[in-house]
Amino acid sequence: MKIVLLFCLSLFSLASHAVTLEELQQRFSQQPVLRAQFAQQRSISGMSQPLNSSGNLLIAQKNGLWWQQEKPFSLTLLLTENRMVQTMAGQPAQVVTADNNPQMFQFNSLLTALFHADQRALEQNFTLDFTDKGQGTWQLILTPKTTPLNRLFRTLRLQGSAFLDNIDINDMQGDVTHLRFFNQQTQPATLTVAEQAHFVG
């Protein structure tokens, strides 16, 4: 799930008109808050229909990431500097901290690295292939090179222009997930009271 966050952050950190990865990251690091909606389609081999889900997400540089799936069932994922909380209706929250599960938390450092435009951190785990697609659009293909990432994913393809718009995830088992982000907003630049509440507790 850390990985999820990582990618979301990387997605949104890439802004438009950028020609290089460095510029994208630098621009994104100047956006303190980003809100968006997402729609996800996951196709699993052997399953007759793809699984669709959708919801909202919120990234605040100072607080972390809040990912809320609303359909078909509600699931909330909160990631801060030192813990990760997953909440499902009717179940106790699952909490993972850096101390009790560093494996999952390793990804956190990647996230932080992204926030600080630390391209090196990404490169420790992935081979990066950045392409300027012209007219302000771009594509970044991440190929995992460390375990356990390389056991799970074949590639992650990120596409966008002003913001990150799409992620395509190719699993090693041949399954595909397509994530689309829309309605991205960076204003207000500070968290509202309601938004702040997500990160409390």
Binding site: V4, F73, G90, Q91, N101, P102, G174, D175
Partner: protein
């Protein structure tokens, strides 16, 4: 006693000595030298834990070796593979584990898969218990997650995602370490990566010579490795490093201190007697003493501890005393008495001196410390033999001793005269001693902490701290032992204990613990029943949510301890499990960060088949108990001596005779205060010897048959030889021994200085 019967005694003693030599030749190949510091400590009294099990564990733990290797930057795992290969070349090492190969990782997954119905993790069990919905919701969450990577294949093979859940639980158990290409890695504050490796010694680390070889081999390997990979660092942990360090210390002590003592004593004898004969005779009695001491110690204990050897060097000084006392007498009176007459004259003093010293040493037997018990046996047997040698043989062997005046007669006369005539000395010196003693006592601290006795080398200590910080695994030697008549009972007891462990952590009694994660057969069956109960509903709910899954395979996949032990999944955990051939089994739960040892002991006491082992706290308590016990015993001894003195000499001289004894004890303790050492059990043991040896000096002076000048000289020689030997212990690098030496030398020096106080003032004053 007639000359004839004495001759027969002498011949008999020769026969006995020859028998002792034969016994030594027979015993030596069958015995071993023990160098373990822990062996000096009392045998562990584990509450209820069967001895075979606790011995099995401690032997196994002593064989463990652990490394944390930090390769230089950018070297990656190549440096680690090199280190691993180098370790494999050391023949004394076994079972070296580094990274888990992809194949092993697959086996790991395969084991969990083929036993998924038996190895249910806590979180899954909780969800299943609360209802089918909880588990189906969790499965949906995983399946929908873009980054969880649940594949169609996984769903087909394990529709309830049991393998996934148990592997996630395993990850939670990683104690601050992460996995990198099969290696367990910890990161320090600077972000440096440390890779964990593990190995085992083939032989027990108690074995001195093989321990030394291994440590030497590891040192060279480490040096070569760090040369090949500049910037690489290696941290090591293992009992073998500590015992090797201790044996080096002891060897140093024996070779330098022992040698210095022997040379000092012989030089003194040569100087005083100006003849080689006394030196040879001293050597003879010392040799016979050492022979007898070694034979008896080996006979009683089957081994001799290296510390016993160090301390027994100090016995050299005492056993030389008997020779010197007899030879002094012969030197002064050789012209006008026969050797047998001299023997008769000295017999009471010699035998009394021997008996009191032997009695003092035998008092050490009270303390339940194997090392001290060995020393007691060694000293008692050694000193008796040395004294008997003097009595049986020396009347013959001393025939050619040149006759002369008491050496240093003038000085001795002046010293004794001063004691009789000058109140400044007679009252002033004891008063001064009392003042000094009070000053030292004011500075004295009592500390029964065992760590105080065993100063670890800084290098090892630093490594230890680093390793503890990196892995979260301290080397506290504190653990719970869960045991049972068979594996199943042990596992059930472990399960019964788990809630208490969680509670202990929540209460802050402990920071953490590591317990194996193998459910009992009973638990496995309960879980299976639960699974069979919930599965149909879960499958139905998943299908309703649009995820078509088959009914899961719910056959019994029970895991027996043997299968678990033989599988890859128990890697890193198998050390914590022990089964004896008769089926009795136990598991160890190492505990870190203990804040309330008493509560843990209570917890163990209230659970069936659980023992709490906290070696350090136990020993410190034991030390404190025996320190108090010995203080009491010393008090009783002093009181007994006081009564005897008062009965023999009446007031006030009876009390005066007691002054040197009391002040020598106080000065011994005060010396600790001045030198910054702490008072502990060992100081008390030294005081026992101060009492036993110091009282001789009083005895010599109060012996009605003795001549004060001869006594004075014999005492002087005895004190100097004792100081040369016990005094040398002050320089021992083992703190327990050096503080032992300080107490002894200061106490005995005081006893010597004040002993003329016991001379009768008027009655004998005019005789000389």
């Amino acid at each position: 006693m007639s000359a004839e019967s004495h001759r027969r005694l002498a011949q008999g003693w020769l026969l006995i000595c020859l028998l002792l030599v034969a016994a030594l030749c027979w015993l030596l190949p069958r015995s071993q030298i023990n160098s373990s510091v822990l062996a000096l400590l009392p045998k562990q009294q584990l509450a209820g834990v069967p001895d075979a099990l606790s011995r099995g564990f401690s032997q196994r733990l002593d064989r463990q070796l652990m490394w944390l290797v930090s390769p230089p930057e950018n070297a990656g795992t190549a440096a680690l593979d090199d280190w691993l290969a180098r370790l494999h070349q050391i023949p004394a090492l076994n079972d070296i584990e580094g990274s888990m190969s992809p194949q092993r990782q697959q086996e790991w997954g395969a084991f969990f898969f083929s036993h998924r119905n038996a190895l249910i993790d806590d979180a899954t069990r909780q969800r299943l218990t609360s209802g089918a919905t909880a588990q189906s919701q969790w499965i949906l969450g995983q399946v929908y997650s873009a980054f969880a990577g649940v594949s169609g294949k996984e769903l087909a093979n394990d529709p309830l995602l049991l393998v996934r859940a148990s592997q996630m639980a395993q990850q939670q158990n990683s104690a601050g370490m992460t996995l990198d290409n099969g290696w367990l890695v910890a990161r320090d504050a600077q972000g440096r990566r440390w890779y964990l490796l593990h190995g085992e010694l083939k032989a027990s680390s108690y074995d001195i010579s093989s321990g030394r070889q291994v440590v030497a081999a590891l040192d060279t390997t480490k040096q070569a490795f760090e040369q090949r990979w500049p910037g690489a660092k290696v941290l090591e942990r293992g009992t073998v490093f500590y015992s090797d360090y201790a044996s080096h210390q002891a060897e140093h002590d024996i070779s330098t201190i022992g040698l210095a003592s022997v040379i000092g004593v012989f030089a003194l004898i040569l100087l005083m007697f100006r003849s080689v004969l006394p030196m040879l005779l001293s050597l003879l009695s010392i040799t016979v003493g050492a022979l007898s001491g070694t034979v008896f110690t080996l006979w009683v204990f089957g081994e001799i501890h290296i510390m016993t050897l160090v301390l027994s060097a100090s016995i050299v000084g005492i056993s030389a005393d008997y020779t010197l006392y007899f030879l002094t007498e012969r030197r002064v009176h050789g012209a006008d008495t026969t050797p047998l007459e001299s023997l008769k004259k000295l017999f009471p003093a010699l035998s009394m001196a021997m008996l009191t010293t032997v009695a003092a040493y035998l008092m050490l037997l009270i303390a339940p410390f194997p090392g001290l018990q060995q020393l007691a046996i060694f000293a008692a047997a050694g000193l008796s033999a040395a004294c008997i040698t003097v009595m049986c043989w020396y009347p013959y062997l001393s025939r050619n001793l040149p006759v002369g005046l008491t050496p240093g007669l003038v000085l001795i006369l002046r010293w004794l005269h001063a004691w009789r005539s000058r109140n400044v000395l007679r009252l002033g010196l004891p008063a001064l001693c009392a003042l000094i003693a009070l000053g030292g006592l004011a500075k004295l601290h009592i500390n029964d902490d065992i760590a105080d006795l065993q100063a670890l080398p800084v290098g090892l200590q630093q490594q230890e701290q680093q390793i503890a910080a990196l892995t979260g695994q301290t080397n506290d030697q504190k653990w719970l032992v869960v045991y049972g008549d068979n594996a199943e009972q042990t596992l059930q007891r472990l399960e019964a204990l788990r809630p208490s462990l969680i509670n202990a952590k929540a209460q802050g009694w402990i920071d953490g613990y590591r317990a194996i994660d193998l459910p009992s057969l009973k638990k496995q069956q309960q879980d299976l029943d639960l699974l069979r109960n919930r599965a149909p509903q879960i499958v139905e709910q998943l299908q309703q949510a649009g995820i078509a899954v088959k009914a899961p395979d719910l056959s019994s996949q029970a895991v027996l301890p043997a299968a678990w032990l033989n599988s890859v999944v128990s890697q890193g955990w198998r050390l914590l499990w022990l089964s004896l051939p008769d089926g009795r089994s136990a598991t160890l739960i190492p505990v870190s960060g203990v804040h309330n040892s008493a509560a843990m002991a209570e917890l163990a006491a209230s659970s069936a088949g659980v023992g709490w082992v906290d070696r350090k706290t136990e020993f410190s308590q034991l030390f404190s108990e025996y320190r108090a016990y010995l203080s009491y015993l010393l008090g009783v001894a002093v009181a007994a001596i006081a009564i005897i003195y008062l009965w023999r000499y009446r007031l006030p001289h009876g009390l005066v005779c007691l002054v040197p004894t009391v002040l020598s004890l106080l000065m011994g303790v005060a010396a600790l205060g001045y030198s910054g050492h702490n008072l502990n059990l060992f100081s008390l043991l030294a005081l026992v010897l101060v009492l036993g040896i110091g009282i001789n000096y009083t005895l010599f002076f109060t012996n009605p048959r003795g001549t004060p000048t001869t006594s004075m000289f014999a005492i002087f020689m005895a004190v100097v030889t004792t100081l040369l030997t016990f005094g040398m212990l002050v320089f021992s690098s083992t703190q327990a021994i050096s503080s032992f030496g300080i107490v002894l030398s200061c106490g005995i020096l005081t006893a010597f200085l004040l002993s003329p106080l016991t001379l009768p003032v008027k009655k004998r004053g005019k005789k000389k």
